[in-house]
């Protein structure tokens, strides 16, 4: 069966510090991968998606970047965090040709 791992579950970081969130998927190959952010009480904002290794599409210009160094690994990064980067970050995967997506448990990031 397929599983998705996302860590850490919670993170408190000072303004100006770097960020690295990691997401890995098991039990499938060549998935589409997604990073979303959800502000408190708001909907999901698509940040990045990837259809293959090294292929990153950015949806919203911002202080974040994403990388996919391996087929089932998706990393969200920032060089210098802003207060506005606080939120609930979710990673998801989807098998190509399918309509259903599977989400990780999320990382709650608080920038102080």
């Amino acid at each position: 069966s397929q599983t998705i791992h996302q860590w850490p579950a919670t993170l408190v970081q000072p303004v100006g510090s770097p960020l690295s969130l990691e997401c890995t998927v098991e039990g499938t190959s060549n998935p589409n991968l997604y990073w979303y952010r959800q502000a408190a009480g708001r909907g999901l904002q698509l940040l990045f998606y990837s259809v293959g290794i090294g292929q990153i599409s950015s949806e919203v210009p911002q202080n974040l970047s994403a990388s996919r160094p391996q087929d089932r690994q998706f990393i969200l990064s920032s060089k210098k965090l802003l207060l506005s980067d606080s939120g609930f970050y979710l990673c998801a995967w989807r098998r190509k040709g399918n309509t259903e997506a599977f989400f990780g448990q999320g990382t709650r990031l608080t920038v102080v």
């Binding site: 998606y49 399918n98 309509t99 448990q105």
Partner: protein, 110 residues
């Protein structure tokens, strides 16, 4: 990508049937209608998908009229644990992007 429109919030009481309608006027021939449920501090969970007419599973029913420009998610006899945000998405297997709208926040009261 077909844009979707849903009510921002709905209230209900335990035991009632809840119907959440989603508009997707620009739906394409190859698009499927999918619904997700999200509890606080968790990722969304896929609950149902349909193309036309009616689909039913252990969680919900999905009603889609012939023109497919809208769909209605029906939750029979809701309980407090159905309090969540429900998202409607229109997707195809070939769509790389997955765009979620603001969803419908359902609050179930005792």
């Amino acid at each position: 990508l077909a844009k979707t429109t849903q009510p921002i919030s709905m209230d209900s009481y335990e035991g009632q049937e809840v119907n959440i309608t989603c508009s997707h006027n620009n739906i394409a021939t190859n698009d499927y209608i999918t619904w997700y449920q999200q509890f606080p501090s968790q990722g969304p969970r896929f609950i149902i998908q349909g193309y036309k007419t009616k689909v039913t599973n252990e969680v919900a029913s999905l009603f889609i009229p012939a023109d497919r420009k809208s769909s209605t998610l029906s939750l029979p006899r809701v309980s407090l644990s159905d309090t969540a945000v429900y998202y409607c998405l229109v997707v195809t297997g070939n769509t790389d992007k997955l765009i979620f709208g603001t969803g419908t926040r359902l609050q179930v009261f005792p």
